[in-house]
Each structure stands twice: as structure tokens, then as C-alpha cells.
């Protein structure tokens, strides 16, 4: 049976990995992995290796240089090897495949549309990171919430927002999920529990924490037992140096909130390499410092991500508190469509392109006889049709009317105040027709 390989796997008996016994995984608890401090730094400082090169290089196992990125990837690998069990059923596998294909095709179409001028402003594409979105969001229930950054199209799609609604929003049409008022970076959907869509990194994390807080509050104060929603906050490696990240880790652990912090570590924050920006690049290590498990997982492997997600979501829903999951992943395109992407090493890009999550899942499904080529081709065709239809729908949709400019600023439009005639401005019929004076 093939498994998707991580870059390198140290021997399990290595003296430099301290790990709780495997039995703990049976109780549903995630292991805390403790590492000899300074292992990564010393190696990097000694050898000037770039982080990505380090991860792909084969280095000898010595007390200070061995990768301790064992944790969940290891756990999963061991489980696979010892139990010889498939990680997904056919239905689940096809669902994952379809979701990742949807994400990839959608983003590719976005690029096309952008260069044709149908989409504008800032557009940040998710190509290459689909395993993280699919892996986590497909483990959630409908009433759970997802909070994201500006790279949020695929999170919205995975959570169930229709492709046509997202495409219309990107075109700035009134049929978009936010009526054209949000745009690429601000995808909100109350129905699907998508909380945005935040342009400032780090901004969404406390908001996600608030959603988790409301879950707990409803259970404990309002005595609503059904309010067991879990929140997943997605953000990148750059965010992990931001104050709000640490503030949120602290409060999440302090108040044991049902949240999962998912770091999509794609090694680059626009043109700033993670290693150049961070004193301790292992983000998962920062979890235990705040009192929660920190887990590292190969974010190019949807099945591994899924295993971690399963446990983290169950943990949160049980009331055991937050988890910090670092997913090592990569974006195939630049930071945004305006980014010339000149700073990244082509060898690094090639390395990760070879680990394309969609290709890997396809390989797994076929090799394990869960699906055949024609099944997967029909899924791809179906998605192509969905995307085409979404573009046609968005093209055909109307632009917002003038009056929409003043709508939705307030839930209570009396916030626009009193007009010169002494009545509230919102009562003036000209107001929503866009002809009233403000």
C-alpha cells in the first residue's frame, strides 16, 4: 500500500524525540511532541540552508539535527503501517477529490477571469493548498464555522457556498454571496457559517475565537445543549508573528474554547520567507507554550490532514479546548494575481508541484481500488460544468443598483440620522433609490 510520503521520516526510536506513548492516541488525545530546543536553528545557522531545502534534504540523524516533525504525520504513518487500514471509504474519497478539484478549477478560472478584466482588485488564489481546506472543512458539520483571511475563496466553497455565488461576488454582481459589497477578500455567509474573509492578517483569529466563545456561552449560560458548534480559524505563517495570534492562543486555552487554529504554512508571506521573519520557525511548538497541543502535519496530503482534523474537531466538540495545527503546504501561484513571484526558488516550486495534493489523492484512490480513472474524470467534467455555469451566471447577473450603495451600512438604518426635514433619513423614499442626499 502506498502512503504519501513526508519529506523525511526519522527513526521512531530516535533519542531526540520525546513523545507520549501511542496508547494516548487511542484515547483520542493528540500527542504533545517535545523537541530538544534549538535543533532547527543550530542546523540552519550552521549550514545556511533555506527552510524548504532543509525539509527536503536528507540529513543524518544526530541529536540536534533530526527533524522532530514527527507528530501527526508519524502517527498516521504508523497507524497505516500497523493497522493496514484504508483511511477513507470510496464515498469519502470521491467527496474529497471533488472538493479539491472544485477548489483548483475555481481558482484557475479566477485567474483567467482576472486577466480578462472581469475580476479586479486584490485576488489571492489557493492553488496547491486545497488539502488543508478540504481536509478540515469536510470534517465539520453544517452549523460549525470557518473564519479565514483574504485567501478565502476555497474555504467558502468547501463550506458549501455555491460556486456561482462566489463567482458573482468576485465579479462584483448583486447576486454574489455578499451582493457584491464584499469582494474577493470578504466572503461572508451566515447560512454556511463562513465568517469572512478578513484582509488584515491576524484580524480574523480573535473573531473566530468570539464565534467559539458564543458556542460555549450558549451552552453554559443560555443552556442550549445543541450549541456545540466548533470554529476553525485558517491563517498563514506570517500571521503567526502577529500579536493577535498570541493573544488568541492565550485566551483560547485559558477559557477552553472550541476552536482549532489551522496554520497554512506555505513558507512565504508575499515575498518574505518564513525563516527570515521568525525567530522560532516551528509554529506548532508555540501551542504547548500556551497550554494546548501543537501538531504538525503534511498539508499536501489530504488524508493526513483529515486524520488530524478528525481528532482536533472531536477534541473541541468534547469541550477539551483548542488545538494548534500547523500544515506544511505551498501555494503554486504568487501571493496574489498582482505578485510577480520572483523571489521563490524554482527548485522549491518544483519540489512542491511534485507533491500536488490532487495528484496524490488520485494516486491513492486508484492504487487502493477506491475509484478508477473514469470515476475521477467524470468528477472533473462535472466540476468543469459547474464552473462554466458559475461564470455564465456571474456574467449574466446585474450590477448592483445605485440605491444599494447606502444599504446594509447599519442593521438599523436610523443610524444615518435625521434629515433636514426632521425625519429619519432612511424614511425618505429617495434614500434607497440612491437619489437622496446624505
Amino acid at each position: 500500500m502506498t502512503t504519501m510520503s513526508t519529506a523525511r521520516i526519522p527513526p521512531a526510536s530516535s533519542p531526540c524525540i520525546a513523545r507520549k506513548p501511542k496508547a494516548s492516541s487511542n484515547t483520542g488525545k493528540l500527542p504533545r511532541v517535545y523537541v530538544k530546543p534549538g535543533w532547527l536553528r543550530k542546523d540552519l545557522m550552521g549550514s545556511n540552508l533555506r527552510f524548504s531545502e532543509f525539509r527536503s534534504a536528507k540529513l543524518p540523524c544526530s541529536p540536534l539535527t533530526v527533524s522532530a516533525i514527527a507528530s501527526a504525520s508519524e502517527l498516521v504513518k504508523e497507524r497505516i503501517e500497523t493497522k493496514s487500514e484504508l483511511l477513507v471509504t470510496r464515498e469519502e474519497g470521491l467527496e474529497l477529490y471533488e472538493d479539491m478539484i472544485l477548489g483548483r478549477s475555481f481558482e484557475d478560472m479566477c485567474a483567467q477571469m482576472y486577466y480578462r478584466g472581469k475580476m479586479f482588485g486584490f485576488v489571492h488564489l489557493y492553488n496547491g493548498q486545497e488539502a488543508v481546506s478540504t481536509g478540515f472543512i469536510k470534517m465539520l458539520k453544517a452549523h460549525d464555522s470557518v473564519c479565514s483571511t483574504y485567501r478565502d475563496h476555497v474555504h467558502a466553497l468547501s463550506k458549501g457556498v455555491p460556486a456561482r455565488a462566489v463567482m458573482s461576488e468576485l465579479f462584483g454582481k448583486t447576486t454574489g454571496c455578499c451582493r457584491g459589497q464584499g469582494g474577493s477578500m470578504h466572503m461572508f455567509s451566515k447560512e454556511h457559517g463562513v465568517l469572512g474573509g478578513f484582509a488584515f492578517i491576524g484580524e480574523g483569529i480573535p473573531v473566530a475565537l468570539g464565534a467559539a466563545f458564543s458556542s460555549k456561552y450558549k451552552q453554559e449560560v443560555l443552556k442550549d445543549e445543541k450549541a456545540n458548534a466548533v470554529t476553525v480559524a485558517f491563517f498563514g505563517d506570517g500571521t503567526c508573528n502577529n500579536g493577535q495570534f498570541f493573544e488568541s492562543l492565550n485566551m483560547a486555552a485559558l477559557w477552553k474554547l472550541p476552536i482549532i487554529f489551522v496554520v497554512e504554512n506555505n513558507l512565504w508571506a508575499i515575498g518574505m520567507s518564513h525563516i527570515r521573519a521568525t525567530s522560532v520557525p516551528d509554529i506548532w511548538e508555540k501551542g504547548p507554550a500556551f497550554g494546548m497541543p501543537g501538531v504538525h502535519v503534511d498539508g499536501m496530503d489530504v488524508l493526513k490532514v483529515r486524520e488530524v482534523a478528525k481528532e482536533a474537531v472531536a477534541r473541541a466538540r468534547r469541550g477539551d479546548g483548542p488545538t494548534l495545527v500547523e500544515c506544511e503546504t505551498y501555494r503554486f501561484r504568487g501571493h496574489s494575481l498582482a505578485d510577480p513571484d520572483e523571489l521563490r526558488n524554482p527548485a522549491e516550486k518544483a519540489h512542491y508541484a511534485a507533491r500536488d495534493p490532487i495528484v496524490s489523492l488520485k494516486k491513492y484512490l486508484i492504487e487502493n481500488n477506491l475509484a478508477n480513472e473514469s470515476d475521477l474524470k467524470s468528477i472533473e467534467k462535472k466540476i468543469d460544468e459547474i464552473i462554466e455555469e458559475a461564470v455564465e451566471f456571474a456574467d449574466a447577473s446585474p450590477l448592483p443598483q445605485r440605491g444599494q450603495l447606502l444599504e446594509n451600512v447599519f442593521a438599523d438604518p436610523k443610524g444615518f440620522g435625521i434629515g433636514p426635514d426632521g425625519r429619519y433619513r432612511c424614511e425618505d423614499p429617495g434614500f434607497t433609490a440612491g437619489t437622496a442626499q446624505v
Binding site: 466563545f213 458564543s214 493577535q244 488568541s248 446594509n408 447599519f410 443610524g415 435625521i418 433636514p420 426632521g422
Partner: protein, 378 residues
């Protein structure tokens, strides 16, 4: 705190004359509540008690309302506004937070997305600058960005503006900053009645509300009517109050400056100038209708605020009046603001850096062409 003492003595005179029932008539805003009169045997309440009772009643009425902030629980509130609330409602509803403004403000916003009604207290609004990203980008703009799907029924409250001798970083007035942001409602109560009514309105409001209090007003007592003490009492957001009717010059003020304006009006009365004092109550939305109607009556305008002059509240009011009532103005609009310097610490310099009653009197006289123009240094 000599500043507070000075303020107190001014208001004490006002309050004592209220007890005699003489000045009471003039304070009744006849244009606002047509048929009600304040009882002459009015109960008195401090602003602190007014806020405490308003929050208490709203938390009792709606279990979704909760309070969070630094020292709001066991410390009973940094300024004792939340006294007794922890004991009454428990730690699930009155949360002591760590010193993480950005973090806990974001938590409040996220909870508001899901229908809870948080009251986020900032120890002062100066500290809210660490959270201003959450206030503006996550709270104010979300209803718009989500096209109405997600509203944010949150209240951000705390003391604003200068206190006494607290230095430059603790004395900034944020009324103009928040007042310029669409999606927010900004309230500035003055009296106990304002505090109670506007706080209740803010908590019940489905939009983010910035509630700018004033530390020096917390201890001030004001008469409150029986209507005000009723738990369902609420003041409308966006309507200013005419504290004192007059016909010669309009003075607009908010928060602590209302007290100063009223004192100035009394002094002007002695010189035969009848000043109309407007308590703005609401910075956003600004009650331009009331202000303009008043200016059309008096033809002269003096705006008073404690904050910095450039791009301030007075600038906005002046622009509004020039746009809508230009032909009615008989004199240039006078702005009284804080000095355009970071707040100094030395007591005498601080006194020069904030508006005083004499400044308002001089400005009003200038507007009435009754005084020689003064230089910047008094």
C-alpha cells in the same frame, strides 16, 4: 484632582439652584418631550450609578448581554462602573480579560456575529487604539461587507478624553476618529439621564455603538425623573437635546463640555446674551436638523469640544451649518477646541490645553460682535 474639583464646584452651584426649582423650567427641553415636566422633587443620581443601573437592567432583561473588559469583574470596574455585576451575574457573564485589547475586542465582535450582545469595556479609549482594527474593520464594516447577513450588536464603552493630570497618552479624545467611520454609531452622554437612556439604547441597538463616557463626569450627580428610572427608559440615538433655550447664539457641546457651556450660558445671561445650549448626545449620526434649526433661530454658532481642532467635531458642524444654513449666519462660526498639542502634564499647562468656561464666553461674545478678538494665548 483639582480639575475635577473646579468642575464640581461649578456644577454644585447649578445643582443647588435646581433644588430651588428656579432654573428647572429652562432646562426642560420643550421641543423634545412636549408633555412631560421633570418633577421638582427629582431624585438625584450620579453618572456612575446611571451607567451601572442601565447595564444591570439590560443584563437582567436579556441573557445574551454580557460584559467583558479589564478589571470589570473582581475589581468591580476600573472606575467602579460595573460594581456588583460580577456578584449578581456570575463570571460567565462578567468576564475579566487579560490585557489583550485586540484579542478580546475581536472575541466580542465574533460573539456578536453569532447574536450575543457583548459590552466591551476599554479602561480608557486610549487603550482601544490597540483594538481599533477590530472595531473598524471587523465590527463597523461587517454588516456592509456581508450585505446584511451578519450584524454586529456590540457596545464599546469606556472613558474618553481628558481627565486630570493623566498626561498625553491618557487624554486623547476619539469622538472625531470614530465619528468619521460609517457603520458605527457614536454616543456621548452628559448627564445621568443621558447615560441611562443612551446606554440602554446602545445595548438594544443591532449595530456597533461607541459609547464615549468621561471620567470626570462619573461622580457628578444629576436630577433624574421617574420616567428615567423606569427599566424600559430609552433615548433615541441621533437626536440632540436642547439643554437651554436661547435666542442670541447657539452653543453646541458634548460630554463634559455641556456642563461648561451651561455655565458659560449663565454668565452670558448676565451680559444680556441669551445662549441656546445644545447637548449633542450623538456624534454619529449627528443631529444636523436640530443644530441647523437652532442656528436659523439665533444666526450665530459656537461649537465646543475638548478634542484636537483639526478635523474635529466642530469642523463637521461648521461645514454642516455652512452647507445648510449659510444665509442665516450673521457671524463666522467660532470653534472652541482643545489645544493642538499633546496634553501636557503640568497642571497650569493642562488648564491652558483644554477649553474653559471663559473661552466659551469670549467666543460667544465674539460671535455677537461684543468683544475684541483674542489671541490664541489667553
Amino acid at each position: 484632582m483639582w480639575g475635577a474639583l473646579q468642575q464640581k464646584s461649578g456644577l454644585a452651584t447649578l445643582v443647588s439652584s435646581l433644588k430651588h426649582g428656579q432654573v428647572l423650567e429652562r432646562l426642560v427641553p420643550m421641543a423634545f418631550t412636549p408633555s412631560r415636566k421633570l418633577s421638582t422633587a427629582a431624585k438625584e443620581m450620579t453618572v456612575r450609578d446611571a451607567l451601572n443601573s442601565a447595564i444591570d437592567e439590560e443584563m437582567s432583561a436579556d441573557p445574551k448581554v454580557f460584559l467583558m473588559g479589564e478589571e470589570v469583574g473582581e475589581y468591580q470596574g476600573a472606575y467602579k462602573i460595573s460594581k456588583g455585576l460580577l456578584q449578581k451575574f456570575g463570571p460567565d457573564r462578567v468576564l475579566d480579560t487579560p490585557i489583550t485589547e485586540a484579542g478580546f475586542t475581536g472575541i466580542g465582535v465574533g460573539a456578536a456575529y453569532y447574536g450575543l450582545r457583548p459590552i466591551v469595556e476599554f479602561m480608557t479609549f486610549n487603550f482601544a487604539m490597540q483594538a481599533i482594527d477590530q472595531i473598524i474593520n471587523s465590527a463597523a464594516k461587517t454588516n456592509y461587507m456581508s450585505a446584511g447577513q451578519i450584524s454586529v450588536p456590540i457596545v464599546f464603552r469606556g472613558p474618553n478624553g481628558a481627565a486630570a493630570g493623566v498626561g498625553a497618552q491618557h487624554s486623547h479624545c476619539y469622538a472625531a476618529w470614530y465619528g468619521s467611520c460609517p457603520g458605527l454609531k457614536v454616543l456621548t452622554p452628559y448627564s445621568a439621564e443621558d447615560s441611562r437612556g443612551l446606554m440602554k439604547a446602545a445595548i438594544r441597538d443591532p449595530d456597533p455603538v461607541i459609547f464615549l463616557e468621561n471620567e470626570l463626569l462619573y461622580g457628578e450627580s444629576f436630577p433624574v425623573s421617574a420616567e428615567c428610572l423606569d427599566p424600559s427608559f430609552c433615548l433615541p440615538i441621533g437626536k440632540a437635546k436642547i439643554e437651554r433655550e436661547g435666542k442670541d447664539v447657539t452653543i453646541t457641546a458634548f460630554s463634559k463640555m455641556v456642563g461648561y457651556a451651561l455655565q458659560a450660558a449663565q454668565e452670558l445671561e448676565k451680559e444680556g446674551i441669551s445662549a441656546e445650549v445644545i447637548n449633542l448626545r450623538s456624534i454619529r449620526p449627528l443631529d444636523r436638523a436640530t443644530i441647523n434649526a437652532s442656528v436659523r433661530k439665533t444666526s450665530r454658532l459656537v461649537t465646543v469640544e475638548e478634542g484636537f481642532p483639526q478635523h474635529g467635531i466642530g469642523a463637521e458642524i461648521c461645514a454642516s451649518v455652512v452647507e445648510e444654513s449659510f444665509e442665516y449666519l450673521d457671524a463666522p462660526v467660532e470653534r472652541i477646541t482643545g489645544a493642538d498639542v499633546p496634553m501636557p502634564y503640568a497642571a497650569n499647562l493642562e488648564r491652558l490645553a483644554v477649553p474653559q468656561v471663559e473661552d466659551i464666553v469670549h467666543a460667544s461674545k465674539r460671535a455677537c460682535y461684543r468683544a475684541v478678538p483674542m489671541s490664541a494665548v489667553v
